[in-house]
């Protein structure tokens, strides 16, 4: 019994496909999570991340179908994410409607819209073929995962330092962080609190829209938009930010961890292990729940997270 369990663990740890698939899921999560990290540091717990991803995924998919151009499709995905974020930002940080109410409604709205439009204009995409970087891709186990991905996946590589630089090396980032920790103080020192927060949400819209596009165009198992693809990955990305204790490094780590369990659920049957499909499907969500529970209490969250700012209301 123990021997066979160990054998199973060995098989899983030794499977190239596993690392490859885990990396793909992690990268898709990371696009959204980086945006969410910026938004949360500025004080918004932005649950419409899901809607932004869905919008990005469908738009990218439909753009590819009509133009067959991957860069255009990704750009369209980003624009769709931006559009959703504009609605979220202005309703929650200009009209001061509860951010969760707006986010939830947008999630339902965009999913419904994507499903409806998909029933009329079905989007079929051809997956971007993996770019295999010579020599490096032949490294055992992880070569394929790091050096054999479809090219849109690699956009995450510049995105991580870009987000870090924006947040920690520009005045804009400093103001964003101050707005997330102490909006009153930021307001008094002349920072337009809600404008900064809106901009942070728009940044999240751009990256998660791109993430949705990469999901549809870069995942081997996906051709065209289906409602199940995004399937709460936006929410898992939010969990990754919480897991990471609102640090960029931790967020990326969270994406890798949760990505691994998405891959596990997909790869187990391929490796010949039988597990009830429905139980296996809950795996990433259970893991996200467990790890956020373990780590959330230890970290310091942005002080004004999820608190609306209205001048004059302390």
């Amino acid at each position: 019994m123990i021997a066979s369990a160990l054998g199973a663990v060995g098989d899983i740890l030794g499977a190239d496909a596993m690392y490859n698939s885990a990396m793909r899921f992690a990268i898709v999560l990371a696009f959204a999570a980086i945006g969410e990290w910026v938004a949360e540091r500025s004080g918004t717990l932005n649950i419409s991340l899901e809607a932004m991803m869905i919008g990005g995924a469908y738009t990218a998919s439909i753009t590819w179908s009509s133009t067959e151009s991957v860069p255009l499709a990704l750009l369209a995905g980003m624009l769709a994410g931006l559009l959703v974020s504009l609605v979220q930002a202005h309703l929650s940080h200009q009209l001061a409607i509860d951010q969760f109410v707006v986010g939830l409604t947008l999630n339902i709205f965009v999913l419904g819209l994507a499903l409806f439009l998909d029933s009329r204009w079905e989007a079929v995409t051809q997956v971007v073929q993996p770019t295999r970087i010579p020599v490096l891709v032949d490294i055992p186990l992880v070569g394929e995962a790091f050096f054999g991905q479809p090219w849109p996946m690699y956009l995450v590589v510049p995105l991580v330092p870009l987000a870090w630089w924006l947040m920690f090396r520009t005045r804009w980032g400093l103001e964003l962080r101050s707005v997330g920790d102490s909006p009153q103080a930021a307001d008094v020192s002349g920072i337009h609190v809600n404008r900064r927060r809106r901009q942070a949400i728009m940044f999240a819209g751009l990256t998660s829209g791109l993430g949705g596009g990469v999901l549809v165009l870069g995942q081997i198992s996906i051709a065209g938009y289906e409602s199940g693809h995004v399937g709460l990955k936006g929410i898992i990305a939010i969990a990754a930010v919480i897991f990471g204790g609102w640090t960029l490094r931790g967020t990326i780590l969270g994406c890798l961890l949760f990505g691994y369990f998405f891959a596990l659920q997909q790869t187990l049957p391929v490796l010949g292990y039988r597990m009830n499909a429905q139980l296996a499907a809950t795996l990433p969500y259970l893991v996200a729940l467990f790890f956020t529970a373990v780590f959330a209490a230890r970290t310091r969250q942005p002080r004004a997270l999820a608190q609306p700012f209205v001048r004059g209301l302390a």
């Binding site: 717990l45 649950i47 309703l91 009209l95 001061a96 409607i97 969760f100 109410v101 707006v102 939830l104 409604t105 947008l106 339902i108 709205f109 999913l111 419904g112 819209l113 499903l115 409806f116 439009l117 029933s119 009329r120 204009w121 399937g231 709460l232 929410i235 898992i236 939010i238 969990a239 919480i242 009830n276 429905q278 139980l279 499907a281 809950t282 969500y285 259970l286 996200a288 729940l289 956020t292 529970a293 373990v294 959330a296 209490a297 999820a306 209205v310 001048r311 004059g312 209301l313 302390a314």
Partner: protein, 373 residues
């Protein structure tokens, strides 16, 4: 300087105008969407009305459909009142329905139905209780946990239907591989009322009574007052002696319990032919939550809104003839929700601009001034 009552009247008129405007925009957008995808928007409207009320026997169905929506929304109000964001009703409803099924298929006799309903209540409460536990013990925001639990619940209850010792029907005549529970027997079914050729279950009446009860409890009792204070300002609540953790956890569990109750009611009133199936919740949890949002947390306002939302559900069954996908209803519904959220917010903003802050101007009800020792 206008007299105060004049100003109030003007505000009311402009608010009404805003409502009319934004709902019109939402409807026009929906019609446009149908037209550009090549559907007849007039036909869609007619089909929706036929399916929801006009055809014989339809408004009874709509009432029956509105019942779980109403119950879910009442639960959502309880947690929102305490300042908690429970958005996992869809999962709590599925769990409640599953526990209710287990009890209903194992018990019989006159008390079986009470047992089933109670089981649904408890099941939903426990599922939301996980989120409450994680919030107060590990400080994980309940927004995330309740959402993650939705997915776990929908897949997990599906798993229950793969084992006969759990929920799977063990009838040998059942077609193989069909995932469904055994059918509830007569003693565990809710009775129906027949009026004017329409029929609807007794639970409709019970849900309306429940709405009134929730309204009274929230507005007229100490417990309701405590929840309100907690929701407005947790620190103040603590100062006046509200047990923050217990009150918050109770509110969260109770909101889950209502969702579970809605699941039990759906089951015993004959949704899915008195069986529990995968996908049983069928978005009722989400839509019930939206009802509460649109009602802006007033229990009695939930009653008509639940009916409208149910009308969209029952009406969508008649869309097939028009050739327009049912999912258009999801779009229309969420556009309507957005349209109904915007006007009050705009009104508050305008008022704020006219009379700069006394702090209370942002709240739509007077802020509770605390005099309790």
């Amino acid at each position: 300087m206008t007299r105060p009552d004049q100003a109030t009247a003007r505000r009311a008129v402009s608010l009404l105008g805003l409502y009319v405007l934004s709902v019109t925009v939402a409807l026009v957008l929906s019609a446009l969407l149908i037209s550009i995808t090549g559907g007849p928007w007039r036909g869609v409207l007619n089909a929706l009305l036929d399916g929801a009320i006009r055809k014989p026997g339809r408004w009874g169905d709509t009432l029956a459909e509105a019942t779980p929506l109403l119950i879910v929304s009442l639960g959502a109000i309880v947690s929102a009142r305490a300042g908690l964001v429970n958005i996992g009703q869809e999962g709590q409803l599925a769990v409640g329905a599953a526990t209710a099924t287990y009890v209903a298929t194992h018990l019989s006799g006159p008390l079986a139905i009470a047992g089933a309903v109670l089981a649904g209540f408890v099941g939903g409460a426990l599922w939301a209780g996980i989120a409450a536990l994680l919030k107060y013990w590990r400080k994980v925001p309940e927004v995330i946990t309740t959402l993650l639990l939705v997915f776990i619940a929908s897949q997990g209850t599906g798993y229950l239907l793969t084992r006969t010792f759990l929920l799977l029907d063990d009838d040998p005549n059942k077609p193989n591989r069909v995932q469904t529970s055994a059918q509830l027997d007569e003693s565990t079914r809710i009775g129906y009322i027949r009026i004017f050729g329409n029929e609807f279950p007794w639970s409709v009446v019970a849900a309306v009574v429940l709405a009134i009860a929730v309204s009274v409890v929230l507005h007229r009792t100490t417990w309701g007052f405590r929840l309100t204070v907690l929701g407005r300002n947790a620190r103040t609540a603590q100062r006046i002696g509200v047990p923050v953790v217990i009150a918050g956890a109770t509110a969260l569990a109770l909101s889950g319990a209502f969702a579970g109750l809605a699941g039990a009611v759906m089951l015993t009133a004959g949704t899915a032919n008195y069986r529990f199936t995968p996908g049983f919740a069928n978005n009722v949890g989400w839509e019930g939550l939206l009802v509460a949002l649109v009602a802006r947390n007033r229990p009695l306002a939930c009653i008509p809104i639940a009916f409208v939302f149910a009308a969209l559900r029952t009406g969508s069954g008649f869309l097939a003839a028009t050739g327009v996908e049912r999912s258009i209803v999801d779009v229309v519904r969420s556009l309507l929700v957005l349209a109904l959220l915007v006007p009050p917010a705009v009104a508050v903003m305008r008022q704020r601009r006219v009379t700069p802050p006394p702090a209370a101007a942002a709240a739509d009800e007077p802020v509770v001034s605390v005099v309790v020792a």
